[in-house]
């Protein structure tokens, strides 16, 4: 019985320690990772750029896998930074794809290579379609394609 309680106490201790670790502010460091994408990755072209289903499919994927951290409108959430800032919206699609694939593991973002490549590209299409949030100061022109711009922000899933 003592071993059971020892295991439970150890799990509770680890839980507390991990919560403390997860609370660190990583926003700036996460954006900085975009710049670390290798040139080859950055140069990759979104094969689904012209696919009319890419944005709606990406929106569903985003709501399923990303909104918990980045917020329903991708304006930033409890754990993840806003994706509607110039660092993200002006980034090359290949750089965003690279971040999705590799995560920012040491800063709290998991790898998303568990999603097949086409789904990651669908997410890229959706993220790029969002554009910058109105409250975000714009210092560089958006690179998003007008045909991909979401005219309405996505409705919350729940």
């Amino acid at each position: 019985m003592r071993a059971y309680f020892a295991s439970l106490a150890a799990t509770a201790g680890l839980l507390s320690a991990s919560l403390a670790l997860a609370q660190r502010d990583k926003v700036a460091l996460v954006y900085a990772q975009l710049a670390k994408a290798p040139q080859k990755a950055r140069a990759r072209h979104n094969p689904l750029e012209k696919d009319p289903d890419a944005v709606p499919a990406g929106r569903i994927l985003f709501e399923q896998h990303c909104s918990e951290c980045h917020g329903d409108l991708a304006k930033g959430g409890n754990k993840g930074p806003s994706l509607r800032v110039e660092q993200v919206q002006n980034a090359k699609p290949g750089a965003i794809f690279w971040i999705l694939t590799n995560g920012v593991v040491w800063r709290g973002m998991p790898v998303w290579s568990i999603l097949p490549e086409p789904q990651r590209w669908q997410l890229v299409s959706y993220i790029k379609s969002l554009g910058m949030a109105k409250s975000t100061p714009v210092s560089a022109p958006s690179t998003r394609s007008p045909s991909n711009v979401a005219t309405e922000p996505p409705s919350p899933r729940r």
């Binding site: 071993a3 059971y4 295991s7 439970l8 150890a10 799990t11 680890l14 839980l15 320690a17 991990s18 919560l19 670790l21 997860a22 609370q23 689904l48 289903d53 709606p56 499919a57 990406g58 569903i60 994927l61 399923q64 896998h65 918990e68 409890n78 754990k79 694939t101 590799n102 995560g103 920012v104 593991v105 040491w106 800063r107 709290g108 973002m109 998991p110 790898v111 290579s113 568990i114 999603l115 097949p116 490549e117 086409p118 789904q119 669908q122 729940r158």
Partner: protein, 297 residues
């Protein structure tokens, strides 16, 4: 009035079901494996509650139903910790609680590579009646399960299990290989085992509409696992091996179902194992606990 371990197990199971109905669940993208592990860890701050069952045939004795609950928590993006509660019912014999496990998986490299290593460390405190067959190791064979529960439960096992998980994802396929080394903390030799697996979603592109039966929600594959003997008698002699097709159905309604019929590959293996599992991921569980204790998140 004393509370039996099984009653405690049942209460924990019901409590976890209650948990599963809390808001904040997140649709998961879960792998279909029961035994093999890939390199994907739980998302940080999320808790996944899982229930798994194994029905097994037994030559020379009664079949059994072994089951376990898993509480899998993403401590960070590179570290997942899990707590297990195991039990079993042997038909015509008895039902009993068989032990606990505490497992940790740590991602070694910070980026994706062609092969992604993950280190696995588990402590098991179980009785000799444990039948969940969560891994194949050493010289574990079918006839070990013939001991009646009343006898088998008297044996107490404290074991450390180490695994090296090497997993790759290529063109939608996941290929994984796990090498296992386990040491009973009593004076027993190191035992070895393996698990390999391959799986792929039925469709790589996501549908533009919400759907439960879309092909991308199904992941199918196969896994094979077994023992490699121990330090003194390394090899395939007196070991059991299984081959099992696996399938997972990741529902947008936040549940994942898994099914796997397993087939013994030699005379030392159970002829047939039928496994199934159901799980639900609770997003933001860490934040909920933090708020409970006055945290800001």
């Amino acid at each position: 009035m004393p509370i039996s371990p099984f009653t405690s197990f049942l209460k924990l199971f019901l409590l976890s079901l209650l948990f599963a109905f809390l808001p904040g669940a997140a649709p998961a993208q879960e792998s279909p494996y029961f035994v093999a592990y890939d390199h994907y860890l739980e998302e940080p701050g999320n808790l996944e509650i899982e229930y798994f069952s194994t029905f097994g045939t037994q030559r020379g004795g009664n079949g059994f139903h072994a089951y376990w609950m898993e509480f899998e928590y993403g401590a960070t993006a590179w570290w997942t910790t899990e707590f297990y509660l195991d039990g079993q019912s042997t038909f015509g014999d008895s039902t009993l609680f068989t032990g606990v496990r505490w497992e940790n998986r740590v991602r070694v490299l910070k980026r994706e590579h062609f092969i992604n290593p993950v280190l696995y460390v588990e402590y098991e405190h179980k009785s000799g009646a444990d039948k969940i067959l969560k891994e194949g190791e050493g010289h574990d064979i079918e006839s070990d399960f013939l001991t009646p529960n009343a006898e088998a439960r008297k044996e107490h096992i404290n074991e450390i299990e180490l695994k090296l998980i090497l997993s790759s994802t290529f063109k939608g396929w996941n290929l994984t290989e796990n090498t296992l080394a386990a040491k009973d903390l009593s004076n027993s030799p190191w035992e070895f085992g393996y698990a390999i697996g391959a799986s792929r979603p039925l469709a790589l592109k996501a549908s533009a509409k919400r759907c439960s039966f879309c092909r991308q929600n199904f992941i199918a594959g196969i896994e094979m696992y077994g023992g490699f003997g121990d330090r003194h008698h390394f090899g395939m002699n007196e070991t059991s091996h299984y081959l099992a097709p696996v399938v997972a159905w990741n529902l947008p309604s936040e549940w994942t179902f898994r099914l796997s019929p397993g087939f013994g590959l030699n005379n030392n293996s159970h002829r047939f194992l039928l496994r199934w599992g159901v799980s639900r991921e609770i997003a933001g569980f860490g934040s909920m606990v933090s708020r409970l204790f006055g945290g800001r998140r």
